[in-house]
Amino acid sequence: MYSLVESREAVNNWLERYGVRFGIYKNGKFKEQLFPFDPIPRVITPEEWAYLEKGLSQRVRALNLFLADIYGEKNIIKNNVVPKSFVYASKGYLPQCEGIRPPHGIFAHIAGIDLVQARDGSWFVLEDNLRIPSGASYPLIARSIARKVSPETFTANHIEDNRNYPDLLKHTMDSMNVNGGLNVVFTPGRYNSAFFEHAYLAERTGAVLAFPGDLIVEDNHVYYQGIFHEKTLVGAIYRRVSDEYLDPMVFEPTSLLGVPNLMQAYAAGNVAVLNSPGNGVADDKGLYYFVPRMVEYYLGEKALLQNAPTYLPYYEQDREYVLNNTEKLVIKDVSEAGGYGVVFGRDLERDRLEKLQELIRSEPRRWIAQEVINFKDLETMEDRGVVYRKADLRAFVLSSADSTVVWKSGLTRFARQADSFVVNSSQGGGFKDTWVMRDHQSLPKQF
């Protein structure tokens, strides 16, 4: 373990050589930066993991049933469990997907669920990511580098091997593949912030990495034509292009990233699209409030994982509370993602606080408010020694025709600055490996 911690620089150098980068757009300019790796892992005990695994799988199964319901019969709205205006005013709800049933009825194939752990050890879900969550590739490649740099760490500690992620992903793609054609990872291109991940996952799953222009729809089937213009039938598309750019014939007409008429082939069942278009309605920050109710409604079980205490200004009672307690809450704009549109009431000057309250009064549907969870700091290695930093955990849940599987690892992101709660990589955070332990014998003590 010590040898791994001492190899911090070596691992980061290897990550740099492999091109493990994260792109960010700042002031309209594209900049790539390294994604700093911290060698001290997040360690999860077998009991804790068993609980998380059950809760995550339950949550994602409910979210999949919700999506099938919303684009199908809408029973949850008819039964007044979720208010209809939250669904239909959500940016993520796409009428163009009404009535489409994807292969095996699965909508969220690759889900990234963000959790935090409070000081008392309890876990809270902060948000669900069901569109194009990124991040699995980072702990995946970091683990294989760490194993080379410090093999003894991995013989001394009984850690669940996380290098099966490509197998899980391939299994998901294969089980969705409708015709035995190619599996492709469809990337918007090298200027996407997660391009490294697209290329790496394509390589590791044996899928073809397809760029805009590589895929065409002819006779209502999707073909990959690459640079030699030889057409090969495509059976499953793990797309990393967002919904609005996916098909210029149906969504944003000026999109050059999309595949024209992909939605027609998809609606006809001639290709699988992972994740399904329209999933944004289920990971909407406003609908998040209702996820525990979805679990009860669809599965008839109590939700094992709890949400962070959340208030919807849409409800009058909650609005009163939020307006009276703005300075101790975190306020989120439901239409933003990636750490943007997140405001801590306590950081605001008087006039900005009042402005925000005015906005909450005039557009209540646009906001959610959450109690600030005092989450557990994790040990993090800096040049001068160990410091404590806020961290979250993105767990990956893969749903295929026959199973819902939680990857025994995850992306632990930490804030670079002391006292910062914002861990998003787009905001400059770093990452850690996540160790799920097989037993207690080898739990590492202190680092």
Partner: protein
């Protein structure tokens, strides 16, 4: 029961040849209780560089709104793209029994009202329904409200082709006080939704006109009715409905993506005749 012959003909001439052309059309009548196709077909063809005309295979299906869509792909270079859609429809008076999806109460980017429009909607007085429709229609608050709003839009606007574009929003056209049928429809949709009446954009071909037309459908007691704000009237017969959606962006007649830097010249001819 009346019968109408319709023909939609459109050509796109490209200044230089284009290739890898994907297209998606909404040019065949939508299946509705008040209109049934006696016969209907669509033919899509291109003219290649060597002058040879090539008929293209057409995929048929429906979009999420139930509109008939036709689509396809042509790889080779061509300098002309032609659509012919033709048929005979049997029609009864415009009336669609059904349900209203709640999305038709939500504003869209094109129909979102500004403060002026909201004020305008609040000031429109109710008026008696019989002024602009046959006496056989049931009278109700929704119908009266819809007719009043339609009348108010008609009075507020002047029909001026070229004053707006396909991307003009309801708010912009309302402020301008000018526009074409699409703008009238967006403004009326906005006002109806402000009043809590489910409303959707509809388009198609109108008897006696040489171009496509757009209007509004609103939902009242289990029935969708057609309301034409550009002509300030309830629709009955003689209008071939092609598509509906939340706004015009949901029902473009022709969308295409191709490779090539070509200027486009469009010609369009629409004919609707009672037979």
């Amino acid at each position: 029961m009346k019968q109408f012959f319709y023909r939609y003909e459109s050509d796109i001439l490209f200044s230089t040849p284009v290739s890898a052309h994907s297209w998606l059309l909404r040019c065949m009548p939508k299946e509705e209780p008040f209109q049934r196709a006696e016969r209907a077909f669509v033919r899509v063809s291109v003219v290649r560089e060597d002058g040879e005309e090539l008929s293209l295979p057409v995929c048929h299906g429906r979009d999420a709104f139930g509109n008939a869509v036709q689509w396809g792909y042509v790889a080779g270079a061509h300098c002309r793209f032609s659509i012919l859609s033709e048929g005979v429809m049997r029609q009864t008076p415009y009336r669609i029994c059904g349900t209203a999806h709640d999305m038709f109460l939500e504003h869209t980017a094109l129909t979102r009202p500004d403060a002026d429009m909201e004020r305008f909607a609040g000031q429109v007085p109710l008026r008696a329904a019989e002024e602009s429709c046959e006496g056989s229609l049931p009278r109700g608050k929704v119908l009266e409200r819809a007719l009043s709003l339609c009348d108010a839009v008609y009075r507020h606007m002047s029909y001026v082709p070229g004053a707006t574009t396909v991307n003009t929003t309801a708010g912009q056209a309302f402020a301008l006080g000018q526009g074409v049928c699409q703008d009238y429809a967006h403004i009326l949709l906005s006002l109806l939704r402000c009043s809590g009446i489910p409303a959707r954009y509809a388009c198609g071909y109108l008897a006696g006109e040489g171009a496509g037309h757009a209007w509004v459908e609103f939902f009242d007691q289990g029935v969708w009715r057609g309301l034409d704000p550009a002509n300030n009237r309830l629709l009955s017969c003689g209008c071939i409905k092609v598509a509906h959606g939340r706004d015009s962006a949901d029902c473009p007649v022709n969308r295409g993506v191709f490779t090539g830097r070509a200027a486009q010249q469009n010609t369009l001819a629409i004919k609707v005749e009672e037979v």
